[in-house]
């Protein structure tokens, strides 16, 4: 039986992909950012912690989906996905391989649970998905886990509510538990934390709010579940809304979780970088 063992959250700032791809990880600007991922890169190589499959919750940034197609929740069920050309050529990272049997199982289970999923069989994946892979796994020749891409619309409003994201997480947990094969499954939530990359207010960072959000992932997740969109927008910048995707990860874990690791750093590009590793108590 598949086991949902841990949840990881992380920002997916494109610059952090560039830094790794261009070998800048030791530069002053980047060093403290990447250092916060050392713990996780070590932890995740341990036999108990190495996932067979990661359900990677992210958003597409006008790469695979344009204005003709806006799925609220899309799940990738193809065998593999190529890194997208976002305007400066695709990232030089491995092809993303899926566990298609498992992905289709999850897709089916979610639809039976009354989530109105869109199944996607042909798409490229952008920095939202590949940057967290690089942060957690470094620069291997092949990604060491299979990846199920789960894309959430956080670009065109209304985006899904925090509550709906949480409920999707709970349904993901049921899908994992009902899969007969013995797999170690992690759910990753990506995006965030504070950032606004548009308009005169760009550059907004709210460290206090971000830290409380990180605290409450373990202390008071039900508060986070109920946060309205407007609070993310006012308090953490227009792109801080990406944090609703963390609630999918959090909803997939149980009532009580332990924080194994936390990292918070300002800035990476325009963004506050946040990263936690959580496990069920």
């Amino acid at each position: 039986m598949a086991r949902l063992t841990a949840g990881i959250a992380s920002s997916h700032v494109p610059l952090l992909g560039v830094g790794i791809d261009q070998g800048k990880t030791e530069e002053d600007y980047f060093k403290p950012i990447y250092a916060g991922y050392d713990w996780t890169r070590e932890w995740i190589t341990q036999p108990d912690n190495k996932p067979d499959v990661v359900i990677l919750v992210y958003n597409d940034h006008a790469s695979a989906f344009d204005m003709n197609l806006i799925p609220t929740f899309a799940i990738g069920c193809a065998d593999e996905f190529q890194p997208a050309d976002e305007g400066w050529g695709p990232r030089p990272v491995p092809t993303v391989k899926n566990d298609a049997d498992f992905a289709w199982h999850v897709a089916q289970s979610l639809i039976l649970d009354e989530f109105d999923m869109t199944i996607i069989n042909d798409m490229d994946v952008d920095h939202g998905l590949t940057v967290p892979l690089s942060l957690m796994f470094g620069q291997p020749a092949e990604w060491p886990a299979k990846i199920v891409p789960l894309a959430v619309n956080v670009v065109t409003y209304p985006v899904p509510s925090g509550n709906r994201c949480w409920m999707l997480g709970e349904a993901i947990a049921r899908a994992v538990e009902s899969y007969p094969e013995d797999l170690n499954v992690q759910v990753w939530g990506t995006g965030g934390m504070s950032h606004q990359i548009q308009g005169p207010r760009a550059g907004l960072i709210n460290q206090e709010w971000d830290q409380r959000f990180l605290d409450d992932l373990t202390k008071d997740p039900q508060r986070l579940r109920k946060l309205p969109h407007i609070e993310y927008l006012r308090e953490t910048g227009s792109e801080g809304i990406e944090m609703v995707m963390w609630l999918i990860m959090r909803g997939a874990l149980g009532d009580n979780v332990r924080e194994l690791h936390r990292h918070y750093h300002v800035p990476a590009s325009n963004t506050a970088v946040g990263h936690v590793v959580l496990e069920n108590c």
Partner: protein, 134 residues
Amino acid sequence: MADRVSEYLAAFDDIPGTRVYTTKRARQGYWLNQFCMSLMKAENRKRWLADERAYLQDWRMTDEQKDAVLARDYNRLLDLGGNIYFLAKLFSTDGLSFVQAVSTMTGMSEDEYKAMMMAGGRSPQGVRSIKEGN
């Protein structure tokens, strides 16, 4: 029944210096954003860089949108329905990073903007709500 949709959207207009990408903007900016998407293909980038005005003739954008594209006036482009992730294809084609492009919208120089970020970013104090002035 109250119009929840309008209530939901109205709050977004109360955030200083911010254009939330509502469906109203998505509709207004449809062709502008689709034009930006076209720059994801290397061959289109080449044609675009060779003759920007000629390239724009193929796109059903308003003159205002075309002028703002040519001027790289990103705040104006947001007002005309552009979305930053689509506009990113435009400034990436120019070789600009997110920080460089974003700084042009803030009224700061690139160096000032970078310095603000290094010092912890823009404080939310005073820029949460127009109405509340907080």
